[in-house]
């Protein structure tokens, strides 16, 4: 995404959120699918709800669309309480996980459906449908039925149908789930472009963290019905707030340890499994001797055969596994304690004269500000 020059709304004090989700709980019988979720989403955002299967993402989306009654809590859109507003009266459209195209209607009729319900004049409907068809590049399929389209084409029709009413808010439930990787990446950028052009607020549900990273202005990480962290993609990746988020977004190495020196400027952490001590160059709010987890991303480590000149943050182990991925290689290094550490290195040159190989002993070291200390 392009770097924004203006300060985003969510960082401004007193900015009015477009969608306010306040202490929303949804239970199915005894089971709590959405657990006391509070969330503000601002105009023109492309907000991603990221979470594993069954974490309650779809349920939260369906609550916004009006298909699930709340057990408790409140949803405001543009300052209006949605409690007694039926789905067909909400300024929201949804793109369904399964696309839900009407099989007995042609593509053009599917797209026109929403406008017809609003009694838009016929001329205008034709114009807007044609515009949508060309925007999605599906003009040639206008008179086909949905079952005569490929997965990618269907997905475009579904998007066109959801966008044509120019809703204030568009909900997308795993919009790219059915596409292959290449088409998926193309469509991700297209989605961002469309969102930019139309100025609609998007909420996108996905369980693919890469997709969330590509699309989102902000990501809400969801697990077991709870939203654990809401942040910009970069911050979710670099500063995960909990073990759950750290593990869910990208891959990461975790070391359990105990704080043995706590200063305003730095902390030192001892970890048996790591076989070395950790130094973190910022203070954290904690009690002395507290148990914490140190997290370090695989690409943040330097790999050397010679021992680096560094007392802290330096592991030693043997390479047990190498996976060549093309642009990078993944190494699995076994420490003395038996713990496996994952390291990735970019493949900068085509032929390496002295490549790291199986059974090599290596040192893994990282800077004082590269790791994250997790207290929960």
């Amino acid at each position: 995404m392009t770097q924004e020059t203006t300060i985003p709304l969510w960082k401004q004090d007193g900015a009015k959120p477009f969608i306010q989700i306040k202490n929303v709980t949804k239970k199915f019988g005894e089971f709590t699918a959405v657990d006391n979720v509070s969330l503000d989403i601002y105009e023109n955002e492309l907000f991603c709800l990221l979470g594993g299967s069954g974490s309650g993402k779809s349920t939260l989306l369906r609550i916004l669309a009006g298909f699930e009654e709340l057990t408790s809590g409140q949803v405001l859109i543009d300052g209006i309480d949605m409690a007694n507003i039926e789905p067909w009266n909400r300024p929201i459209n949804m793109m369904f996980q399964s696309y839900a195209l009407f099989p007995h209607m042609t593509v053009a009729k599917n797209i026109a459906f929403g406008l017809k319900r609003d009694k838009v004049p016929k001329k205008e409907i034709e114009l807007r449908v044609a515009e949508m068809l060309s925007m999605m590049q599906i003009e040639e399929f206008a008179h086909r039925k949905p079952d005569q389209l490929s997965g990618g084409q269907r997905q475009r029709v579904a998007l066109a149908r959801a966008l044509i009413k120019r809703p204030k808010l568009l909900l997308l439930d795993e919009p790219l789930g059915a596409l292959d990787k290449k088409l998926r990446e193309e469509t991700q950028f297209e989605l961002v472009n469309i969102q930019d052009k139309l100025g609609v607020t998007f909420i996108v549900v996905t369980h693919d963290q890469e997709e969330a990273m590509t699309l989102a202005t902000r990501i809400g990480v969801m697990g077991n019905g709870i939203i654990t962290q809401v942040d910009e993609p970069r911050d979710v990746y670099e500063y995960p707030s909990s073990r759950f988020v750290a593990e869910f977004v990208g891959s990461i190495n975790l070391f359990d340890g105990r704080i043995y020196e706590d200063d305003v400027e730095h902390v030192k952490i001892k970890s048996k499994k790591a076989g070395c001590n950790f130094f973190v160059n910022h203070g954290i709010s904690c009690s002395p001797n507290q148990k914490v987890t140190v997290a370090i991303r695989p690409e943040k480590m330097k790999v050397t055969r010679r021992q680096p000149d560094q007392e802290y943050n330096c592991l030693y182990g043997q390479i047990v596994d190498i996976a060549y991925m093309g642009n990078l290689s993944i190494f699995r290094v076994k420490l003395k304690s038996g713990k496996i550490v994952r390291v990735t290195l970019p493949n900068l040159v085509r032929e390496n004269r002295n490549p790291l190989t199986w059974d090599d002993f290596v040192y893994l070291a990282w800077d004082y500000d590269s790791s994250v200390v997790l207290t929960s």
């Binding site: 067909w88 369904f96 839900a100 007995h104 609003d118």
Partner: protein, 317 residues
């Protein structure tokens, strides 16, 4: 080198051969699968129909069976006499009685089918909206009447509808009417009987299509601004058309030829082709005439179905 080529060709020849035999097997299997229902249709539908059709071209006679032979063999001159009488069919159209009976049957069956649809649709919809065990229970309740004899159930309706029957006594009891209403031996009773009897045949195919209906289509329609009523007419109804069609045929076809219900519940002047058929057969013992009536009835039923099928094929293209 040449040896290698030889093996290569041999190998190829082998695969070609096995492929052929597999193809043959598949084809035979396919024929077998198709032939079973075809055989069934031929045995129990087409051949009997031919027999009936043949009888309809004969002349009624006092004999056993009570009609003349189509083929006579004159031994002396070796002449094959073929006797085909078309008079039965002509008579069908000359006497307006038959035409009236056909029209009346189609009317009664049509109206009954309409009401089974109106009543059956909400029931099927309700059952399809329930989950697991409730669904099975409700479906069982729909099929349950089949466990008792059909005749018994029609007699039960006579008990309900007669002058001093339960319905009349109830209505008198709560003071809505002073005099019992004549319900038994009216067209009304026939409609009730047919709708009641054939309701499961409507509900079951409707249920099957409604159950398959993707709930997210309904939600998508509502999401795009259509209220519940519009959603019903724009999505639910068109999507359940196959079930509606199947249900209507399953009710309409047997209802046209229905004999027992009009005989027991209807008035003496309730004209239905089933009764005409019965009378021709058992009272007049005019088998050829009865067969002609049956043949024409079959045509009346089959021709519209053919049209429906063709219409559907064109529609899907």
């Amino acid at each position: 080198m040449s040896k290698a080529t030889g093996t290569f060709w041999l190998g190829r020849y082998d695969t070609v051969k096995t492929r052929f035999s597999i193809l043959k097997k598949i084809r035979w299997g396919r024929y077998a699968v198709i032939s079973i229902p075809s055989l069934w249709l031929a045995l129990f539908f087409f051949i009997p129909f031919l027999v009936v059709f043949k009888i309809s071209l004969a002349e009624s006679a006092i004999a056993v069976p009570p009609y003349t032979d189509m083929f006579g063999w004159n031994v002396e001159d070796a002449i094959l006499d073929v006797k085909i009488k078309l008079g039965n069919y002509l008579y069908l159209f000359e006497d307006s009685f038959y035409l009236d009976a056909y029209l009346s049957s189609v009317k009664i069956a049509g109206i009954s089918t309409f009401f089974t649809l109106i009543i059956g649709f909400p029931m099927a919809y309700f059952i399809a909206s329930k989950s697991g065990s409730t669904r099975i229970l409700l479906l069982t309740l729909v099929i349950l009447p089949f466990w008792t004899s059909f005749l018994l159930r029609v007699y039960a309706w006579m008990g309900f509808l007669k002058k001093n029957g339960i319905v009349n006594e109830f209505l008198q009891g709560i003071g809505i009417i002073d005099q019992p209403i004549q319900m038994l031996q009216t067209d009304f009773a026939v409609y009730i009987g047919i709708v009641y009897t054939y309701l499961p045949f409507m509900i079951l195919p409707l249920y099957t299509t409604l159950e398959k209906l993707d709930a997210s289509l309904i939600e998508a329609s509502k999401d795009l601004g259509a209220g519940p009523i519009r959603t019903f007419f724009l999505i639910t109804l068109p999507m359940s058309m196959p079930g509606i069609l199947a249900g209507c045929l399953l009710v309409f076809i047997p209802a046209v030829g229905e004999f027992v219900i009009p005989a027991l519940l209807g008035a003496s002047d309730t004209l239905m082709i089933g009764r005409v058929l019965w009378d021709e057969f058992f009272q007049n013992r005019d088998w050829p005439m009865a067969s002609a009536v049956a043949t024409v009835m079959l045509l009346i039923l089959v021709v519209p179905i053919m049209f429906l099928r063709n219409g559907k094929k064109e529609g899907s293209e």
